[in-house]
């Protein structure tokens, strides 16, 4: 597969796999609600660790903020102190995530799993995620100020993907390490539904469904109450009352 097609097709394939896989997991989980809590506890043991969670949250939030508000990030980075602070924080979070995920992989190798398949996919995901983290840290060290140049290269690339008009050159012209970071990220995203980590997505999806369903449920219960009060049966068949 050519480098450019990889950057056009792979992101879409990864997202489709993530969405479809999560939906399937959600449908399975709703049929077996008792399993949900058990799987959740299992996933917490595998992907646990406060340092890992905090550092990964900081990294993901930073990347999302960079994608959503590029001008604000560039404006922040125009001050030297702001730039050093942002990059320092991101590098510290990256190093913490690398260290904690290395520990997690080590623990995972020691643990005996419930099923070989899920163990294998968990290991695959952890391996890919570790690649993402290490390549990210190396990019930060070797190609300074990614939070700035990323806003004029990778940010517009992701934007072009979202618009359905992929500007692949924005990614393919970048150094190999940056390309590895991008492709490994999409690979990790694609694998998520096959891992026990997906249970977190199922829970979030379930929460969304509850939130969305709430107004409909309120309307339907209100309608049921109204129809009970105005039941035409009482005046069609008054004798039956």
């Amino acid at each position: 597969m050519k480098n450019s097609s990889l950057f056009v097709l792979w992101p879409y394939i990864a997202v489709v796999l993530l969405v479809a896989g999560t939906l399937v997991r959600y449908l399975v989980a709703t049929r077996q609600p008792s399993v949900l809590a058990a799987e959740m506890a299992d996933a917490k043991t595998i992907f646990g660790g406060r340092l890992f969670r905090i550092s990964v949250f900081v990294l993901i939030a930073g990347h999302v903020a960079g994608l959503l508000f590029p001008r604000a990030v560039l404006s922040w980075n125009s001050s030297t102190a702001g730039l050093y602070l942002l990059e320092g924080l991101a590098l510290a979070a990256g190093l913490a995530a690398v260290a904690s995920s290395a520990v997690m992989i080590w623990r995972h190798l020691e643990r005996s799993g419930r099923s070989r398949m899920s163990e294998a996919f968990d290991a695959l995901f952890l391996g890919l995620f570790f690649t993402v983290l290490v390549s990210g840290v190396l990019v930060a060290v070797l190609y300074r100020w990614g939070s700035s140049w990323g806003e004029i290269t990778l940010g517009p690339y992701i934007d072009s993907l979202l618009r359905g008009q992929p500007a692949v050159q924005l990614a393919t012209e970048l150094p190999a390490l940056v390309r590895l970071h991008v492709l490994a990220t999409f690979a990790a995203i694609a694998v998520v539904p096959l891992t026990r980590l997906s249970i977190f997505l199922v829970v979030v999806l379930q929460g969304c469904v509850v939130l969305i369903a709430q107004p409909f449920r309120a309307v339907s219960s209100a309608f049921a109450e109204w129809s009970n009060n105005h039941n035409p049966g009482s005046w069609i068949w008054p004798d039956e009352d």
């Binding site: 604000a72 700035s148 050159q169 929460g207």
Partner: protein
């Protein structure tokens, strides 16, 4: 089970709230960045672009500027050879001036094989004056600001180039500061390292090549700014001046000599 679902709903609501907060926070930060006016800095002959366009559209078919006679006379120095009032009258209606028996007009008519210039009656006095002003300051010989040799840059222009390089002044069309991807030696870690170090770029590429390079985006694939431009001519010149100053400072030159001995041979250091 209920607790898990409630946590999921909480995460979802939290993410929505965070997105909303960030969306509301952005505009104020963007406003702070501001955009400097290109006209604030830099010097050079100023002329009406319309005058240059009119000259190119109407005059160059028969006249040259400093390249000899074509159909009519060479217009280089015409504002010194003739009085402004006479030129105004002649351009506006040459046939009338010739008919009136004006000796200069008659002589020109005879000299140029009785080829009469069109009467540019549609041009206003201001438009003609603008064209004459344009010719008086050099006409087509005027180089675009960015083509000037960086050696003639003032210290203010070099300082503006430094500010543009480091993003202390925003470019008019929103092009990113060079420091995003490049560095110049001697400025610590402020510069990026995705692109090459630009310390000796002026010595390597020299003035004309650097001018041409700065007229294009660094990345051909870079998405267009909303205004459609990249750098203004003055911004380009200021950046060139800063890069020249960086390259030629004593400290940098010795650095360049160590890194690029081929430049010593080409005599770039003596520039």
């Amino acid at each position: 089970m209920r607790r898990i679902v409630a946590t999921g709903a909480g995460v979802c609501a939290g993410l929505c709230a965070l997105s909303l907060l960030l969306m509301l926070a952005e505009p104020s930060q963007v406003l702070q960045a501001g955009i400097s006016d290109d006209a604030d800095y830099g010097t050079g002959p100023s002329f009406s672009p319309q005058a240059a366009a009119t000259f190119n559209g109407r005059c160059t078919a028969c006249h040259t500027y400093g390249k000899g006679i074509k159909v009519g006379p060479d217009l280089k120095g015409v504002t010194e050879r003739r009085k402004r009032d006479w030129l105004l009258k002649f351009i506006h209606g040459s046939s009338g001036v010739i008919k009136s028996g004006d000796p200069t007009a008659t002589a020109l008519f005879a000299q140029f094989k009785q080829q009469r210039m069109p009467d540019w009656v549609d041009l206003s006095e201001k438009q003609i004056n603008d064209i004459l002003d344009y010719l008086a300051i050099g006409g087509p010989d005027i180089k675009p600001v960015d083509e000037r040799d960086a050696a003639i840059a003032t210290s203010a222009e070099t300082e503006n180039g430094r500010k543009l390089f480091y993003g202390e002044i925003q470019t008019k069309y929103g092009a990113q500061a060079c420091v995003t991807c490049h560095s110049v030696r001697g400025t610590g870690l402020r510069g990026g390292s995705l692109g090459p170090d630009l310390t000796v770029v002026y010595l390597r590429y020299q003035d004309p090549e650097l001018t041409l390079f700065l007229r294009h985006r660094c990345f051909n694939f870079q998405i267009q700014t909303t205004q459609g431009g990249y750098l203004t001519a003055r911004e380009s010149f200021a950046l060139k001046a800063f890069l020249r100053a960086s390259a030629l400072s004593d400290k940098q030159t010795s650095y360049a000599a160590d890194k690029h001995p081929e430049l010593r041979k080409s005599g770039s250091y003596e520039k």
